[in-house]
Structures are given as structure tokens and as C-alpha cells.
């Protein structure tokens, strides 16, 4: 149980549980060869708590109460928090009162009072609480029954033990009332252990992301610290962040794979142009699906260097296709659409048609923000309440993963010429949108629901392009559904907390006194008769507080992050595909010519920017547009 965690190559580990601060803690570890972390989710339904992977599959499920008594994690159970090691609520300054056995005495307890003692024996700790009830007759108070409750704790080690001195886990509670002790409860000694959750890194792309690490030798905490230290900076300053810029080539380099396939003896040439930080492989699913349906003679997909200036990439593409004979069409996704347009413009009438899928014809709002600045901005939106380095590292790792998955072109700022071409108002865009285009043109615009669009983008980025073969939607929709579930669960927890607090006296089996707090009730309420009354009341009161805190924390943070992301990618325009504003995806009318035609994909079935090349919806629309453009021999 103790010692450093061993993480195998290409695996992620997630562990979680409640700490003594009543907060939910998650720890995430990853190996040295990959940096992406897939966000999972936690779902509570009734008393059932489930940990989900990013696909929504249940990785672990347990009872909520049992979960709070997590084994092997810092802090142990909620009960530990209620009766923290080293003291309790009835002690006072008299050592004999704190520990009567140390004075050779049996605890003397006055009517309606409680005394406790603590003793340790190696790995065990005994906490004895003696409570004497009271009876009242004719205005005189006299002693009632005396109840002794003994809680037995066992020391345990934690992987995170270095940050905590002593950790005890409640293993038994016994009670006696002026007689032999009987077991009160042992259900919570059946501690459920949260096993490590393992995510396999099984795509070649993940391997390629290895170069994205800020510091290959840094562990999670170091890395988190680095991220925390990055403050929002002006664009030009951020470009000087050497550690980030140095990895830019690895982040967004040339995939190095070109595809040139002769499909049939006759037909058209179909060229597929990828977007930023991508490569020819992004079309691995869509390319064969289209080629098998339409009369495509030859298909080509080039991996260009995505951080080069768009004009440079277009020149490379134009040179590569200049010797083709027959009708040639180019399909470009995102930045690839701009490259396709420019290459076609340079080709005169040699290109028959261009179809752009979610391309930033008028620039990308998000290009105005370098990635490292965005990371910091996101962190600031989530807030500084990290509750220690562990949760902070989780937060920052998640942000880094999300950002590096989708907007690495912000990385390195001025070192990436393409960024200057993508900023709204860039001179390149002005040239592009004022040059005659003697070819057929069409655009496909995509708009996803704004709610949870960031999570949709993150989820979709993890999708294997070949998922199209099985008509499987990109993962973003599932992740979004999971986040929505978590959000609703958090709303429920928040509402439930009010109810639990109100109903706490009823849960205790006693009579409601109309008060709301352990200490307030200590002497004020009518005869509760037994210690368990107070214990249970206090327990549910704390449960209510915990429920509210967890629920409110999740709701608030998710709302803030969601609004921030929508504002970032859409500016004043709400509509976007999670990454590019909807309006910029419209193929502009080049002066002196007509407005090119377009189709739109909107609604719950739409997939976000990072999933568009693996989207069944886009596949169908692209098939339709090519039909419009008359793609036949």
C-alpha cells in the first residue's frame, strides 16, 4: 500500500477518496511517454456512487457511505473527520478528563455530560466516550443511564502519506450501557477500497504527443507548479515562454505521412487537407467511406507542416497536385480549408471545386489567445481552491490536456507563423478573401450546443477517426452527457443537503427540537435518551454540509468554465463548433462573385471541431455536397 506508485508505460492511474477536510480528492498519474489525461466522471445516484471513464463506462461502483470510508487514501472516512485523531469535542484541559485511564481512573461523568479518552497501542487507537444521560423529576436533575462507546481505529499508510502525519481508519464501534459492551456497528468497517483506475493509451497520436510535455522529467506536482506559475500575459510576452515554445515543434509537427491512392481507373481526384496540428491520418475514417461511394479515381492526403504560414502550406499543396489530370476537388477541414482555397487560387482553373468543413474564413477568435495564456485563464476561472497540490495537479493537468489537444497552435505564439494568419483581420485572410476563385465552392458549417462545448471538444479529440467505420459518434457527446450527469448530480446533492439537514433529527430516531447543530443541541434538546441520538444527528448534519459543499463546488465551477470557454471561442457570438465561431465557417463571397453555398449542421447530433473528421453527420453532409458539385467522371 505504501511507497511510490508504479505507473506502467502508456497507462494512466486515477485514485480518489475523501480527505479529512471533507473534500473529494482525486489523484492522477501518468507515465513519462504521454501527457494527455482523459477526464472521467463521478456519478451519484441515490446511495450509489460510480466512477466513470471518459466513455461513460462504469469503472468502479460502490455505496456512498462506504466510499467515504476509503481505504488507502488520505484522510480515511468522514467519521474520522467528525472525531479527528488527537482529541474530541468533550475533552477540556484536564488530562484526566481527556484520558481518565491515564490517571488510573474510570471516567466520572456527570448527568448529561460526556467524557472521552484516547489510548494508542502500536497501530491501534482506542477512543472511549462515556455519556451519562439525565432524568429530571420535580425540578431536580439526577443521573441517567451511562453509555460507553468505544471506537477502535487502525493506523494505515497512504500513498499520499507524506503530506499527512497520522492516518487512522475506523474499524469498529462497540457500546455498553452499564453492562457488557455490545457491538453497535461494524458495517462501516467493511471498507471499500478504490482500486486504481487504468486508462490505456492506445493510439499512435498519443505517442506523438510525447513532445508536448513541459518538462519530461517533471512529475505531476512539479508540472502543476509550473502551470500555476504561468500568469496571463500579453501575446508577445507569452511567446517568450521558452519551455513551452521549445516543445512546439513536437506538439504540432508534420505527421510525415502522405497518402496517394489509386482507387479506380476513372473518376475524379479527391484531395483531403487536414487542419492544424493534425495530419493525413485525420481522414482515415472519412476518406475510404467517401471514396467507396463516389467515383473517385485517385485520392491524396498530404501531411503538411501545420505551424507554417498558410500561404507556404498552400504552395506546397499546389505544387503537389499540379501534375494531376482530370477533375480535382479538395476537401479541407478547419485550417485545411484555407490551405485548400489558397492552393486552388494559385492553380487557376485546375481545381474543380473546394469544400471547406468548419474553416475559419474570417479568422479564429481563439487564435488571439496563446495556449499557455489560455491554460492560466482557465485555471483562474476554475479558481484557486485546489485543496492541496493533488487536486491542483488534477485541475491543471486536465486543463493542459484540453488545451494541448485543441489549440496547440497558440503555443509558441510568434514562433508559429500560422497563428498570425488565423487571427481575425490578418492580412493573409484579407488576401485570401479578395482573390478570384474560378472553381466550385461550398462550405459546411457546424454548430454544437454551447453547453459543455469544451468537454465536447476534449472528448471528440480522443476519438479514433476509424470510428466512422462502425458509425460511432465521436466521444464528445458521451463525455458531454457524463458531465451533464455530474452537473445534475451535483445539483441534486445541493438540494439534498437542505433536506438532509432538515431531516437530521428524524434520521436520528429522536424528536426534532427545531435546532440545527450539534453543539446547539448538546444541552438544549429534550431527552434524547441515548448517545446514538446525538451521534447520528451530528453525523447527518455533517453529511448535509458535505453534500452542499461538493454539490455547490461542482455546479459553480462547471458553470464558470463553461461560460468562459463559450466566450473565448465565440466572442460575442454564442454559436460555435466548440472551437471556431459559427459565422467564420461561412465561405465568404469573394468580391465580384456570388456567395458560395453552404450547409449547416446544428443541434445535439452535431460533433465539435475536433471530432468533425470522424463525424457521421459531417460524412453525410460531405457526401451530399460532393453530389451537389457533380462529382462523377
Amino acid at each position: 500500500m505504501s511507497g511510490p506508485l508504479e505507473v506502467q508505460p502508456d497507462e494512466y492511474y486515477v485514485e480518489g477518496g475523501f480527505g479529512t477536510d471533507d473534500q473529494l480528492h482525486f489523484g492522477v498519474y501518468w507515465d513519462q511517454s504521454a501527457t494527455a489525461m482523459h477526464i472521467g466522471a463521478m456519478r451519484t445516484v441515490g446511495n450509489q456512487l460510480s466512477i466513470l471513464d471518459r466513455f461513460g463506462a462504469v469503472l468502479h461502483s460502490t455505496q456512498f457511505n462506504a466510499f467515504m470510508a476509503v481505504n488507502g487514501l488520505p484522510g480515511g472516512s468522514l467519521l474520522d473527520a467528525l472525531l479527528p485523531p488527537g482529541g474530541n469535542g468533550g475533552g477540556g484541559s484536564n488530562p484526566c478528563l481527556v484520558d481518565p485511564t491515564a490517571c488510573g481512573q474510570q471516567p466520572q461523568v456527570a448527568p448529561n455530560e460526556q467524557r472521552s479518552s484516547i489510548s494508542e497501542n502500536g497501530s491501534e487507537r482506542l477512543v472511549t466516550t462515556v455519556h451519562r444521560g439525565s432524568t429530571t423529576a420535580m425540578g431536580m436533575q439526577s443521573g441517567g443511564a451511562t453509555t460507553t462507546v468505544t471506537r477502535r481505529y487502525r493506523r494505515f499508510d497512504s500513498r499520499w502519506g507524506a503530506s499527512r502525519d497520522t492516518l487512522w481508519r475506523l474499524v469498529e464501534v462497540r457500546s455498553s450501557e452499564q453492562g457488557p459492551a455490545t457491538a453497535l456497528a461494524s458495517s462501516f468497517v467493511q471498507v471499500t477500497r478504490i482500486e486504481y483506475l487504468r486508462f490505456n493509451v492506445n493510439t499512435a497520436k498519443d505517442q506523438q504527443r510525447a513532445g508536448r510535455r513541459l518538462d519530461a522529467s517533471a512529475d505531476s506536482r512539479t508540472r502543476a507548479a509550473e502551470l500555476e506559475s504561468v500568469q496571463p500575459l500579453p501575446h508577445t510576452v507569452a511567446a517568450n515562454t521558452v519551455s513551452v515554445a521549445a516543445s512546439a515543434g513536437g506538439v504540432c509537427g508534420n505527421e510525415g505521412v502522405n497518402i496517394d491512392t489509386v482507387v479506380a481507373a476513372s473518376g475524379v481526384n479527391l484531395i483531403w487537407q487536414h487542419g492544424i496540428c493534425s495530419g493525413a491520418s485525420t481522414w482515415d475514417g472519412m476518406r475510404p467511406m467517401i471514396s467507396s461511394q463516389l467515383p473517385v479515381a485517385r485520392e491524396l492526403a498530404f501531411s503538411l507542416t501545420p505551424l507554417d504560414a498558410i500561404g507556404s502550406q498552400a504552395a506546397v499543396l499546389q505544387g503537389a497536385v499540379s501534375n494531376l489530370t482530370g477533375a480535382t476537388y479538395i476537401v479541407g477541414h478547419s485550417q485545411g480549408g484555407l490551405i485548400a482555397r489558397r492552393a486552388a487560387q494559385l492553380s487557376g482553373t485546375a481545381i474543380a471545386g473546394v469544400v471547406t468543413i468548419a474553416s475559419p474564413h474570417e479568422g479564429a477568435k481563439i487564435a488571439e489567445v496563446p495556449a499557455e495564456v489560455l491554460q492560466s485563464l482557465l485555471a483562474s476561472k476554475i479558481g484557486g481552491e485546489c485543496f492541496g497540490s493533488v487536486l491542483c495537479s488534477v485541475r491543471d493537468a486536465a486543463i493542459a490536456a484540453a488545451v494541448s489537444n485543441v489549440i496547440t497552435y497558440g503555443v509558441a505564439g510568434a514562433l508559429a507563423p500560422v497563428v498570425n494568419d488565423l487571427v481575425p483581420g490578418a492580412s493573409f485572410l484579407s488576401t485570401l478573401n479578395s482573390t478570384p476563385e474560378p472553381f466550385q465552392r461550398a462550405s459546411i458549417q457546424v454548430e454544437v450546443p454551447p453547453r459543455w462545448s469544451l468537454f465536447r471538444v476534449v472528448g471528440d479529440a480522443t476519438t479514433a477517426r476509424t470510428a466512422l467505420f462502425t458509425n460511432q459518434r465521436p466521444n464528445g457527446a458521451q463525455l458531454t452527457a457524463n458531465v451533464e450527469t455530474v452537473y445534475r448530480s451535483a445539483l441534486f446533492l445541493r438540494a439534498l443537503s437542505t433536506w438532509v439537514r432538515y431531516m437530521a433529527p428524524a434520521f436520528s430516531g429522536g424528536v426534532s427540537c427545531g435546532y440545527s447543530g450539534y453543539s446547539t443541541h448538546w444541552t438544549a434538546c429534550s431527552d434524547p435518551g441515548s448517545l446514538s441520538y446525538w451521534d447520528s444527528w451530528s453525523f447527518w448534519d455533517h453529511v448535509a454540509s458535505l453534500l452542499y459543499f461538493v454539490g455547490n463546488f461542482v455546479v459553480t465551477k462547471l458553470d464558470v468554465v463553461d461560460a468562459f470557454w463559450n466566450d473565448l471561442v465565440g466572442g460575442t457570438e454564442i454559436a460555435s463548433d466548440g472551437f471556431l465561431q459559427y459565422s467564420t465557417q461561412r465561405y465568404p463571397a469573394v468580391p465580384g462573385t456570388f456567395a458560395p453555398i453552404r450547409l449547416s449542421i446544428q443541434g445535439e447530433l452535431a460533433d465539435s471541431h475536433t471530432g468533425e473528421t470522424a463525424s457521421p453527420q459531417v460524412l453525410v453532409r460531405l457526401s451530399q455536397v460532393l453530389l451537389d458539385l457533380g462529382v462523377v467522371p
Binding site: 467515383p295 482553373t349 472553381f439 459518434r473 457521421p616 460524412l619 462523377v632 467522371p633
Partner: protein, 377 residues
């Protein structure tokens, strides 16, 4: 007191649970008005093929690489037969004279009962962009510059009419409709080598001889202008959508003179399917994501409703209008009000045209095929 508390607990829990569920009111139950699911079957068809339906079966061409023609029982979706087809995906299927007819690189006829191939005729140019028609023993199709009438029994050419012998650039016959003694062809004529400027030609031909009766030219030649599917025909007019300009056009059936035009939202693709007609009203969907009801006589807008994504087709269905924007939406026929989105709760896109046969409507997509039974009007 404890009983009271328990009751209060239960009430509170129910209240909280209700508060956490979706706050929107449930959609009207269209089933109460007679719209119900006949079947849902697994298929894979991402192409925009127009299925063929007769009294017994509905026939589709699934997406490649599944090179089949498949017939399903139109009432329960049971597969009746499947037959191999040539490479490529036909734009449409037709049934006539107990034959399933379709065209791509070849014109092909299958036995409607067994799926056995009866004949196959090689075409000079692919007809895979043409919505074909079959009527009274003839199979009508168009390729590049030509229209064909083939004998449905054996594939023999009954007539063959060349279009635009002087046309410099490419042309595409997009759809053929037969009405009475006339064949109407929707043709796109390229005005440049790449077709970024084109015009829509509607050509009326004598059904028995192939002689051209009249020709209507739509579009100013400054942009793409074409009807991508066949036209719809009423007693007095023919109506089609100009896909390139997003305009609905009505022509006099006998002369080809324009009666009226209705323009949709600029910059979007126009109608992908011909309008559905009912009395003096036509219903049409468009790439601008609108569903519209127009008066056939003058093009007056009776209602228009914007959906989500670009629309592909529509079908009348009892009191409702069904529209497809990759999913089936149910509209109130009198107002266009959307009663239910994604009827069938399909997660994968639906791509085929919504086709109506009697009281039933069929649609097929990337994952599923549906048959719906409509109520009475």
C-alpha cells in the same frame, strides 16, 4: 412524529427528484394522432438514395462497400431479398412492371420478387447523379447531355434525346419526372469549365418520342443554378427548387413560363428534394434549414419554420409534415409548428429521402431504416 417525518421525507425526495429532471414540458404525443412506428431495422446507408416502394416492399441501395440492392417488407421491415449491384451508388430506385430499376454506370433491372438481375445495359456516361423515373413500361434516365427512355422489360432503347449539342461545357441531368404524356428533365448546364457558374434547364419532352416540347432556363448565369432532383407536377404547374440559388420556382406546365419564384435565405443551398403537394399547398424543405408551406398558385408563404440543420426532404403524413435534417422531425401540418424533434430518437444521421407510399413513410440512414404509419388527414 416519526411517521410524519417519514412522509415528509418521501414527499421531499419526490420533489427533489422532480426538480432535477428536465424542466421542459413533454412534447405532444404524436402517436395519439395516428403517427406510429412500423419498424426500425439496422441498415447502413449514408448516401442520398431515393428508395422505391410498392404495395409489398421498400427497396434501397445501402452504402458501398455493401454493393447490394435490398428489399424489405414495407410493413414490418423483414428482409425479403438482396441482390448484388454494380459499383457505385445509384441516386434512386424505381419499381415498374415487376422490376426494380436503377442506373449508374449501367442501367439495371432486377426481378421485384426475387432480386434476380434481369438485364443490364451499359451507359455511355454514368447516370449516378440522376433521379430516374419508371412509368408504364419505360425507364427514364439522364446522363450527361442525353436523356434515355429504356424498355423496362429488356433494356432496349426506346428513344434517346441529346440536350444542348452546342453546349461547350459539361451538363448533368439531375432528375426526371413523368406526368401524363410528358417527361420533365431537370438539367444543370455548366457555363464555365468548373461549373462555378451554371444554369438550371427544365426540359419538357414528349413521353413517347423524346421530342423536346419546351425548355425553361433558370438563373442569370452568374452563379450556380440547378435543380438537384426531379420536379413536382400539378395539373397546371411544375414546381422545383433551384438548389444553387435557394429559390423555389413554379412554371406553367404547358409552356414553361415562370409563374412565380420564392427566394429562401441567401447563401445557403436550396431544396434538395422536390416539394410535396397537397391541393393548393406545397411543402418544401431547404438547405437554409426551413420547412415551408407555399400556395401553389402564387407562391404565397403560408408558414415557414426553421429547424436545426440544413433540411433534405419532407413528406406529408396525415395531420403532420415530416421533415428530415438527418433526423425526422414532426410538424403540425396546419402551422408548421414542430411537435417532435428526432422522432425515433435516432443518433446516426438519416440520409435517404423521406418517401411516402399510401399512409406510410420510409427513411433510411447510416445506422437504421424506419417505416412510419401515418394517421388520416
Amino acid at each position: 412524529m416519526k411517521q410524519l417525518s417519514s412522509r415528509a421525507s418521501l414527499t421531499t425526495v419526490v420533489t427533489l427528484l422532480c426538480a432535477c429532471t428536465e424542466g421542459t414540458a413533454p412534447p405532444p404525443n404524436v402517436n395519439d394522432d395516428g403517427l406510429r412506428l412500423l419498424f426500425r431495422i439496422p441498415v447502413m446507408s449514408t448516401s442520398f438514395v431515393v428508395p422505391a416502394v410498392d404495395d409489398t416492399r421498400v427497396v434501397i441501395a445501402p452504402s458501398a462497400p455493401n454493393l447490394w440492392i435490398v428489399a424489405y417488407d414495407r410493413l414490418n421491415g423483414a428482409e425479403l431479398w438482396r441482390s448484388p449491384r454494380p459499383a457505385g451508388t445509384p441516386r434512386s430506385l424505381s419499381i415498374d412492371q415487376n422490376r426494380v430499376l436503377f442506373a449508374g454506370e449501367y442501367a439495371v433491372a432486377l426481378d421485384v420478387l426475387t432480386g434476380a438481375e434481369l438485364w443490364r445495359v451499359s451507359l455511355p456516361v454514368s447516370a449516378s447523379l440522376c433521379v430516374t423515373a419508371a412509368y408504364d413500361g419505360s425507364f427514364y434516365l439522364g446522363t450527361d447531355h442525353e436523356l434515355f427512355a429504356l424498355d423496362a422489360r429488356n433494356g432496349a432503347t426506346r428513344w434517346r434525346t441529346a440536350l444542348g449539342a452546342d453546349w461547350e461545357f459539361r451538363s448533368i441531368v439531375r432528375g426526371v419526372t413523368v406526368a401524363g404524356d410528358t417527361v420533365f428533365a431537370a438539367v444543370e448546364r455548366y457555363l464555365t469549365v468548373n461549373g462555378e457558374r451554371s444554369q438550371a434547364y427544365i426540359v419538357a419532352l414528349d413521353r413517347s418520342t423524346g421530342d423536346v416540347l419546351w425548355t425553361h432556363i433558370e438563373g442569370d448565369g452568374q452563379q450556380m443554378s440547378y435543380a438537384i432532383s426531379e420536379v413536382a407536377v400539378t395539373d397546371a404547374a411544375i414546381v422545383f427548387g433551384d438548389r444553387g440559388r435557394n429559390v423555389v420556382v413554379a412554371l406553367d406546365r404547358n409552356s414553361g413560363e415562370a409563374l412565380w419564384r420564392f427566394g429562401g435565405e441567401l447563401g445557403f443551398f436550396g431544396p434538395f428534394s422536390p416539394p410535396s403537394l397537397s391541393g393548393d399547398t406545397l411543402f418544401i424543405t431547404s438547405g437554409d434549414s426551413y420547412v415551408r408551406a407555399l400556395r401553389v398558385g402564387n407562391g404565397e408563404v403560408l408558414w415557414q419554420i426553421r429547424g436545426g440543420s440544413s433540411m433534405d426532404s419532407q413528406a406529408l403524413c396525415g395531420r403532420f409534415v415530416l421533415s428530415s435534417d438527418s433526423r425526422v422531425n414532426v410538424h403540425e401540418r396546419s402551422s408548421g409548428r414542430i411537435l417532435q424533434r428526432n422522432f425515433g430518437n435516432e443518433s446516426a444521421p438519416l440520409s435517404s429521402r423521406l418517401v411516402r407510399y399510401g399512409r406510410d413513410v420510409y427513411v433510411f440512414g447510416a445506422q437504421s431504416g424506419y417505416g412510419f404509419r401515418c394517421g388520416v388527414e
